[in-house]
Every structure is written in C-alpha cells, then in structure tokens.
C-alpha cells in the first residue's frame, strides 16, 4: 500500500503527514463493515498460508470412503476418490489469493500511471485511452481465451488476464482525477514554478487520485477471483492436479448428484472471498466520502 503513496504534496514543499492518508484507511477498517471484512479476509489468508500445517496430510490424502456426507471429520464431505473436500478448498484458496495479491496491485500501479500519463504528454494519455477502449471492448472471458492462447494455460496466463482486465478500471479512474485536477490552481502554480511534468504527475496529481483507486483495488480482487474460477471451470485456467476453486468446480459439477458439497464447497469459498473484499471496499468508500465531506 505504502509503495505508491508519496509522502510529499503541493508546491510549497510542505510534507504531507503519512499518517493522515494511511490513518483514514485504517480507520475505515475499524468500522463494523471494515472490521468484519478484514477479519474474514485475514482468516481466509491465514487458512491458505497455514494449510500445510493445519492439514499436514496434504490435498491428496484419501480416506476409505468416497462421497461421504458432510460430518465433523469432513465438513464438506469427501470426493470421488475419498479426499476431504474442505481440505482441498482451503488449499485452493492459495491459488485465488496468490493470483489477486500479485496481479491486482500490478494492474493498479500500471493502470494509474497510464491514466495519469496525460499529465506528461496529451498524446500519450490519449493513446492509452484507446488501448483501454480496446480492452473494454473484449468481454472478460474472450480476453482470457486470447491470453491463454498466447501464454498457455496456467497461473501466469490467469495473472496476466487479471492484470489486463483490471488495467482500464484503474486507468479510467486516474484519468478522471487527472482531468478534474489538471486545471486547479496548485497544479498551475507548480507548472509556473517550473516543476517538471513527471513530478507534477506523481507528487501533485497522484495523491488526489488515490482514494477511489484503493476502493477499486478491493473490487478488482473480486473480479480476479471470479476470472480464475471461470477459466478453470472450462479447463483453460489452473491445470489439474493442483486444486483451485475453479478446477474443483470443474470436477465437482460432474458429481453434483452424488456429492452436492463438491460444487457447494468451492462456491462457499468464492462467496466468502467476494464478501470480504466487498465489505472492505464498502467501508473504504464510506470513510473516504465522509472525510471528504461529500
């Protein structure tokens, strides 16, 4: 978070207190919604990270019986090979979380810079807008198919799809901030004082564009998680035997009569992840609007 948050702003050289910007985001997570959302997220991340310690048997440990109904020992029951579905779902979280934690921040930084690039050269800004237009013209799954063809199915193709899909969302937000801030006095003052264009972009306009971008990071995480599921369900995402929420659903739907939890389990995990990010986005949004007095 802090990497993209510059500590200085305004032409007078006054240092913005780091705590002021960051404090608002932390305060947002202290609200009921933010607390539940971030608590849920921490829980899911911890479960994913410590899965090998919590379930030392690993994803392939089999019991004697396949398609056992949910019980205390197997909360989601067992699959066609007698493997515990809950354990496989927890391991699958590793894929979803690692994907969005890597891909979305990359998209946020790149997209924001592309959106703000109009501050350096009008032509460059326009060119990136056209690139965003093309990306937005491609429905998300068609985009995913194109990228899978070029890179080959797997984690990298999914991460790339999430980056490309999310780029315009950040680019448009940053562009909007740029257009509304560009004519303000402090920007003109900086320009008159001879501050270089890249410096104006990063030190003066970027800090004023950050709030909606942080909210969008949380929302794009949801999009990324669902893209993994969609492409893996059709077999173009994560490749078996690695369990991901999508690959589990790919197999689970074939056994939906014998073991409904095989489908319901990964769905529950997907919805929990989406809920966590949604609550965080909501809390951030409310807090940002409040401090801005809007």
């Amino acid at each position: 978070m802090t990497a993209t948050n510059p500590t200085e702003t305004h032409a007078g050289g006054r240092r913005r207190l780091m705590g002021e910007g960051l404090g608002r985001y932390i305060a947002a997570l202290g609200q009921p919604k933010g607390l539940i959302g971030s608590g849920l997220l921490v829980l899911l991340v911890l479960a994913a990270v410590f899965a090998p310690i919590l379930f030392p048997g690993g994803v392939d440990q089999q019991s004697r019986d396949s398609f056992l109904l949910p019980s205390l020992l197997h909360p989601f029951g067992t699959d066609e090979l007698g493997r515990d579905i809950f354990v496989r779902c927890v391991y699958a979280l590793q894929v979803s979380i690692s994907l969005v934690i890597v891909a979305v921040p990359i998209a946020a930084v790149l997209g924001t810079l592309m959106g703000l690039s109009g501050a350096i050269s009008g032509l460059l800004g326009e060119a990136f807008q056209r690139v965003f237009d093309i990306i937005l013209g491609f429905p998300s799954l068609v985009l995913g198919i194109c990228i899978v063809i070029v890179i080959g199915p797997g984690w990298l193709a999914l991460a790339t799809t999430i980056v490309v899909f999310s780029l315009p969302q950040f680019g448009r937000l940053a562009r909007g901030a740029l257009l509304s801030e560009q004519g303000r006095e402090y920007v003109l003052a900086a320009r008159v004082l001879g501050v270089s264009r890249p410096k104006i972009m990063i030190r003066h306009i970027l800090p004023n564009a950050l709030d909606p971008i942080f909210v969008q990071v949380s929302l794009s995480m949801i999009g990324g998680i669902f893209i993994e599921a969609a492409l893996s369900i059709v077999g173009l995402g994560i490749q078996p035997p690695t369990p991901s929420l999508g690959t589990l659903l790919n197999v689970g739907i074939r056994y939906v009569y014998a073991q409904p939890m095989y489908t319901a389990g990964p769905i529950i995990m997907l919805l929990l992840l989406a809920l966590a990010f949604n609550l965080i986005a909501d809390a951030l949004n409310a807090q940002v609007l409040k401090t801005r007095g809007e």
């Binding site: 013209g137 429905p139 949801i222 009569y257």
Partner: protein, 314 residues
Amino acid sequence: MFGFLARRLPSVVFMLLATSVIAFLLPRLAGGDPAQTIAGADATAEQVAAIRVELGLDQPVYAQYGRWLGDLLVGDLGTSLITSRPVGQLIMARLGSTLELAIAATVLMVVLGIGLGILAGSIRKGAGRAGLDGAVSVLLATPPHVTGLILILVLGITFNLLPISGEVSVLRDPLVGISLLIMPALALALPQAAMIARLIQARMYQVRQEEFVDLAIAKGVPPRRIVLSHILRNSMGTAVVATGIRVGELLAGAVVIEAIFARNGLGLMAVDAVSSRDYQVVQIVVLGAVVIAVLVHLLSEILLAALDPRIRLQ
C-alpha cells in the same frame, strides 16, 4: 442523424480494425508452424515449404493480413487446420444452440432488468426498498458461472424442479427444450439484468429531481401516472443503452455457461478449439464476439439518438 453517425463511426471502425488485427495475430503469437501441422511430423522440408507457399505464409505479414481480411469480408472464414473443415461450416453447426441461449438470455435480461429497475426506482423507502437494493447488489456481484452453479444446486438438486444438463432444440421439443434452457439463460441474464436495473434506478432518481416532475405533482397528476408517463418515459434511454452495453458480456458468459450446463454451442466449441490448438476456429469466434458486441452497442446508441433529439444534435 447522419452527423451523429459520422461522429460515432471513427471509433467503431477503429475498434473493429484493432480487434481484427488481434484476431489475425492470435495463431501467430501462439507459436507452432501451421504448415508443419498440416504436413505432419514426418514431412520433408520441401513438402512443408510447398504448403507454406500454398497458405501464403511466405509473404510479408501485412500482405497476409490483407488477404485474410479480404477473405473475411467476402464471407470466407478460413479452414480449420485440425479438422480440415471450413470454419464457417463448423460455426453454422453450433450456431443454433448458442442462438437459442442468447435469445432466451437477452429476453430475460431486458424483462428482469427493466422490471427490477422500475420497481427499485419507484419504491423509495421501507423494507421493500432495502430488500430490493440488497438483492440487486448480490445479483450484480455474482458472475454468471457462480449464479449458474447456485441455480443448479437450488433448483436442480435441492428442489429437483429442472433438469441440470444437456440440451434439446426448442424447435424440436418446445417443452423439454425450454426446461433445459431456463437455468443457463437465467444464469447469463441475472448479473446483466441487475446492472441494467441499477442504471435505470439511478436515472429515475435523477429524473425525479427535474422541474417538470414538480410541475406534474403541483397540478395534481396521480403518483402512478407521474412514475409511468413522466419519470419512466424519460429514463428509457438509459435502459436502451445499458442493454446495448451488456450484450457483449452476456454473450461471452456463454463460454462458461455452456460448459457448466453441457450445451454444445459456440462457447464450448471455442474452449475445445483452444485446447486442441485449433486457432483458426478460435480467432473467428473471438472476432465474432467482439464485432457483435460493438455493433449491438452502436445499434443501441442509434436507437437512443432516434428517441432523443438532444443526443443526436449535441
């Protein structure tokens, strides 16, 4: 109207050209030598070279693009290198299935989207409003594949109301065909319907602030009539454009939905083609999906301009 079209056309043409370039480059970016693929593993270098000349692969890339685009424009979609059948033929064989799904989903999307939007825009307080807002938010945040799987679990397994997979043409057996179509079409339609509902609701709130609504209230027009003929009528433009924008995403959802519900349509064909490296098929499906999305979007804007002179005269 011509002025409006002249202003919109450049960006549409740009989008179509950019998409065609991407679709053209896809098989080339994927690597592998199509001539080698056709010739087989134990072909001699001369045979491969001969096929390369036959396919025009010895020419510069821009010349290949020109030839490919020219063929497309006269309706020659190319030949699958894997199955050696014309891509047009392969698509026609699957088109019916996807068309049924797309039509059913679009109808549901428009009906549910506008219906929910009007409801959400008319009810302004109380539990009904909160419930409706919550429902729309949840539908909006849940993508088609997750909606589809939940529908299977609820309607197919728990209540055992509908068959969960397979397909029968509606034309051959309407009853079975429709019962198999309901869940996949709903899954595709619900997220987009929620998006349309949200836009209509927001627009209706906005129109409610306008002075002619105050005037209508002041002169004693009944509330129901204000909503229907004053507010709603001025919000329909948003509904038209919102529908146009969502059609592309709705069509793309078919890729996953067809796989989940075991429907043998174009989406499943695209997925199979990617797996079997049949790039000539994939590039046409990709191009087709984006072209249809762009054209439907343009059509909705033309419709809006026809409805609302302010737009076309801007």
